[in-house]
């Protein structure tokens, strides 16, 4: 654990920034969880709630930027403080996109709820479980200053990509087979596509966390080492 700053306000500003990022991450994850639940349980009210709450995440993104900019202007952070501000602002961009994907899933859930239940809908669960776990671990890594956990996300995302491809192929096959529920299968293809993208965005959060904690830029880097 690092020593605290001599300047009390600086400590408070850094804490406030971290807390806002974590609150935003919590909200984005909740939106994702409820979006998938609304899809699986055909719950239109829940889907509407997710769509409505996306504005909250947007507002949080603005707040993270505002807090980050205030720290830059007031305290001229350097070294680990500077990396924390830069990474937090970038992480909030990724979290906002994750929430957008949750909203997009909720919108498709709302549309599918108008049709008869599709038994195949459960096929998204495995993809969801994996992407949600990546997102949770990305948030944990940021919260716990855990660069090793953050670094491992990239490799785990490859497994998610394999599962996504398999599920996506299955859904495409249904359409090719001439199933009359083409629209619903198309919705599901976009849902799993969103879940796969959430995995990528979680990896981004992990990369920013690695930069924050270990000062290493591991983006686009095949040999990922701290």
């Amino acid at each position: 654990m690092q020593n605290t700053h001599i300047l009390h306000d600086f400590n408070e500003a850094i804490t406030a920034l971290r807390q806002e990022v974590l609150a935003m991450a919590g909200q984005a994850r909740l939106n994702l969880e409820r979006a998938v639940e609304s899809l699986l349980t055909r719950n239109v009210d829940l889907a509407n709630a997710v769509i409505g709450d996306d504005n909250e995440v947007d507002e949080m993104e603005r707040k993270v930027d505002r807090l980050g900019m205030e720290i830059l202007v007031r305290f001229h952070p350097v070294a680990s403080d500077l990396r924390l501000v830069l990474s937090s602002m970038k992480i909030s961009i990724n979290l906002e996109r994750i929430s957008d994907h949750a909203t997009s899933i909720a919108k498709r859930a709302r549309k599918m709820a108008k049709n008869q239940e599709l038994p195949d809908v459960n096929i998204v669960e495995q993809v969801y479980a994996m992407s949600d776990q990546l997102l949770r671990d990305a948030i944990t890594a940021y919260n716990n200053h855990d660069a090793a956990l953050a670094l491992g996300l990239h490799e785990r995302d490859k497994e998610l990509n394999r599962v996504y491809k398999r599920v996506s192929n299955t859904l495409t096959q249904r359409i090719e087979e001439g199933d009359e529920r083409t629209d619903d299968y198309l919705h599901l293809i976009f849902v799993v596509r969103s879940l796969e993208r959430i995995g990528d965005l979680s990896v981004n959060v992990g990369e920013d966390t690695v930069f924050m904690e270990a000062a290493k830029d591991v983006r686009h880097d095949e040999e990922r080492q701290i």
Binding site: Q2, N3, T4, H5, I6, L7, F10, F75, H76, P77, V78, A79, S80, D81, L82, R83, A215
Partner: protein, 299 residues
């Protein structure tokens, strides 16, 4: 040589110069130094030759050790910033480079060596006056002589033997242009230097230093008494000067260090804790004490 002579010979010092400092001494010194500079000058990491090298330097004020085991290589045509809390030894080390500490009774380099361009600066063949011509100094508070702007700048060349008026005028213009002051003072060269603003006076002191063609410029908190605009002018000047000179700048202002320097040395309680490229020091320092200091944490 007496202390008074040593101090006076520092071109940017306040005292008047002893007439014993003659051009003959300086030129003889240069020849001698070239002859004895038999050690190959090593290269820095960036390919630039090393101009100043400290080897296990220990410095004491009487019995009290102010600097311990300082090993440092400063490359030519770079700006090196010395940072650290008050009393950490950064100014002491800066003053070692032109032996300004010789003027303080009981103060001495008690161990180790300081090499400048392949010559150990405490060896017998080195004349401290010539050393101070080669490594000029600019202080925290501007200290122009109570003379005209022209006289302030021509002073150094004159005591080094230049008597030709047009040659002196040329040197004054070149130094004032070098210090980014010419346009502001060219119409009042013979007015008192005290009529200049604080920032202009500091640039005048820089002009006075470069008028004697040094290789190294040592600056001890050169902007701490200046407003932000005057500071920015001096900082811009420092960046221009590194084309022709090697600069070492002591500063408490870490934003300034990050703006102007290529390398940064962090000192703490007489030790050199970290010496790295400035961008590295301010984004990812190697040492936790550096991190704690630059981020303003309790150590």
């Amino acid at each position: 040589m007496s202390n008074a002579t040593l101090q006076a010979a520092s071109v940017s010092g306040k005292r008047m110069v002893d007439e014993r400092v003659t051009a003959e001494t300086s030129s003889a010194m240069s020849t001698e130094q070239k002859a004895t500079a038999n050690e190959p000058v090593p290269e820095g990491a960036g390919g630039r030759p090393i101009q100043i090298e400290c080897r296990d330097v220990e410095f004491s004020y009487g019995d009290s050790v102010a600097l311990k085991e300082i090993n440092l290589e400063i490359a030519s045509n770079e700006v090196t910033a010395f940072i650290g809390p008050s009393g950490c030894g950064k100014s002491t080390l800066l003053r070692c480079f032109n032996r300004m500490n010789d003027l303080i009774p009981g103060a001495r380099v008690s161990k180790g060596e300081i090499w400048i361009d392949g010559t150990e600066i405490h060896s017998d063949e080195v004349d401290s006056v010539e050393l101070r011509r080669r490594a000029g100094m600019v202080f925290q508070k501007s200290n122009p002589f109570p003379r005209s702007i022209h006289e302030n700048v021509s002073y150094g060349p004159r005591i080094l033997g230049e008597r030709n008026k047009s040659a002196l005028d040329e040197k004054v213009e070149r130094a004032l242009r070098g210090a980014a002051l010419w346009d502001e003072v060219k119409d009042r060269l013979h007015e008192s230097a005290y009529g200049l603003s604080g920032g202009q006076q500091q640039r005048l002191c820089i002009a006075r230093t470069i008028a004697v063609d040094p290789e190294i410029i040592l600056m001890d908190e050169p902007c701490s008494a200046l407003d932000p605009i005057a500071s920015a002018r001096v900082e811009e000047l420092i960046l221009q000067l590194k084309r022709d000179f090697t600069l070492v700048v002591v500063t408490h202002n870490m934003q300034q260090a990050s703006r102007i320097s290529d390398k940064t040395a962090f000192f703490y309680m007489g030790e050199l804790v970290e010496f790295n490229p400035t961008s590295k020091v301010f984004t990812n320092p190697d040492n936790q004490r550096t991190e704690d200091y630059i981020t303003g944490r309790f150590g």
